[in-house]
Amino acid sequence: MRNPEAVFDSLVIVKALDETLRGVSRFELQKLTFLACILSLYRGLPASDWGYRFARTGYGTPFSAGVNSAVDFLLSAGHLAEQGGRLSASESGRHLLEALSHLTTCVHRGEFLAAAAASALAVPPGVIAHGIEKEPSVVQSAIRVNGASLLEGAALDRLYEHFSILSQVLPPSAGGLIAPSVLWLTSLADEPISQRIEAQS
């Protein structure tokens, strides 16, 4: 049975980046849905509420079978098109997205997905991957064989410690999720993307 959250998330990310990046790769989609899930945790939602899980697999890390199946379904139904390894939304895909956006389980997800997509544009391409590689459960899963679930256990506690520090530096009430997302990623990736310099008049 299709996971409606995974279908919705895939369509949102693809539609958000379709025109700007001329499509989204499956690899990018996996990373960005994972990032969106992390941002939902930052907002205080439990990991179990996200609707599908991520794991370390031989196909890549993080990897969600739910997202992968959703993409397969959307392609076979013509809601997504794939060219040169990049996914784009068709008109029927955009209509489906509009319909799904009214589902109770999907209404609140847009904020996290939008912030993840925006983060992808605000930083050099490798920063997203390098940052996510250092996410505590991804790091911990590296010592286990493929199939290790992410965002659970002791590693999740360490992620919440990250959030505690992040919320002290950029208080959640001060704005949206893009700045905390980018700060968290660049901090983990250890790749400062900008520096303030002396202003010359």
Binding site: S25, E161, V169, T186, P192
Partner: protein, 351 residues
């Protein structure tokens, strides 16, 4: 565990956080618009060949209209851009996809930045002006002039070729510049391999679609893997072996190891051997081997030489390595070796 003081420093330097601090959600929304349009501009106008300044302004509606002088022209959509932005210009975001073009001279960028977001591209550097402050964008990958110009390669071969031309040839990457012992790039530092690996790894990680790129510890000749590339949702892998040839100096200035092209030839055999061994324990995984050779050879290089002319410096630029056996012809899992000739800084007339 993240360090809060370090994170605070990063937040102070981060342009996105600056936008949020100064202009809140309205500012972040305007930033998203600006970046979106910038990426699409750079698809039409390659920033790497740009010689004039580009200023892009995202107004903040709550701050009221901007005073930028007379409107020169309006461009309703990015897709209609031809040469309007080739000259030095100031483009203000207008509507969903368009721009309003204004004259560029006498623009007080810091002043404008108090009521709008300002992006400036000039001399291959990009800055954001945010509420009277200036933030320089760090570009980790010299493959393109802007982090908002998104190079992507479907094949590792294409990416390696781009690295050869854009990075290795002139040591364009800040990391790779660290391999040189001297300013004219005659001698490498001792043990340059980790730096070369880091440079190439970072480049590939930024430009390869759908791939994880990880450095590996090249522990000995039986495990000559420096970088491993894994494509998502695929059973294909690539292993990259890095060799360098040329001369090196130790930190105290004494001569270090020097390698001739024989080392590259040996590397080719080692990689073939490793691929044979790996096939046994990685059944079901399609692994392809790539040998890359950082070529820092110079002609007539004596220990006392500190400068080099073009004749000696570029002597080996066109000299391909004569591998005794072309594994790429006899094996399906072996790509043709790639040589990255690294140019010195030549001094005319030097002996």
């Amino acid at each position: 565990m993240l360090d809060i003081d370090r994170m605070k420093r990063l937040a102070e330097e981060l342009y996105v956080a600056a936008v949020q601090r100064s202009f809140g959600t309205e500012g972040v929304a305007a930033l998203q618009d600006l970046i979106d349009r910038l990426i699409r501009i750079y698809r039409r106008i390659d920033p790497s060949i740009r010689t004039t300044r580009l200023v892009l302004v995202a107004p903040l509606p709550s701050k009221g209209p901007l005073e930028l002088g007379p409107l020169l022209r309006a461009i309703p959509d990015v897709s209609l851009l031809t040469d309007e932005m080739d000259r030095e210009c100031c483009a203000v975001l207008d509507g969903v996809n368009g721009f309003a073009m204004y004259g560029h001279s006498q623009l007080d960028l810091l002043g404008v930045s108090r009521s709008a977001l300002v992006y400036v591209f000039q001399s291959s550097q990009e800055h954001f002006y945010i509420d009277g402050q200036v933030f320089r964008i760090n570009n980790p990958s010299p493959s393109h002039a802007s982090i908002f110009a998104r190079p992507t390669f479907n094949s590792l071969r294409a990416a390696l070729e781009s690295y050869r031309v854009r990075v290795a040839r002139e040591s364009s990457c800040e990391i790779l510049r660290g391999v040189w012992h001297d300013m004219h790039r005659l001698f490498l530092k001792a043990k340059p391999e980790p730096t070369m690996r880091k440079s190439l790894n970072q480049f590939l990680a930024h430009v390869l679609q759908d791939a994880e790129v990880k450095p590996e510890q090249n522990t000995d000749e039986t495990h000559p893997v420096d970088i491993k590339v894994t494509w998502t949702l695929s059973d294909h892998r690539a292993i990259i072996e890095i060799k360098w040839i040329g001369a090196s100096r130790k930190a105290d200035g004494s001569l270090g190891t020097a390698w001739s092209d024989a080392r590259a030839m040996a590397g080719a055999s080692q990689l073939a051997g490793y691929l044979d061994n790996s096939a046994a324990w990685a059944a079901g995984v399609h692994t392809r081997g790539y040998l890359v050779v950082f070529d820092a050879r110079r002609n007539a290089l004596s220990s006392s030489r500190t400068h080099i002319n073009a004749s000696d410096g570029l002597y080996f630029e066109g000299e391909e390595i004569p591998y005794p056996h072309d594994y790429s012809r006899s094996r399906a899992d072996y790509d043709a070796p790639t040589r990255f000739f690294m140019r010195p800084i030549c001094v005319p007339g030097s002996a």
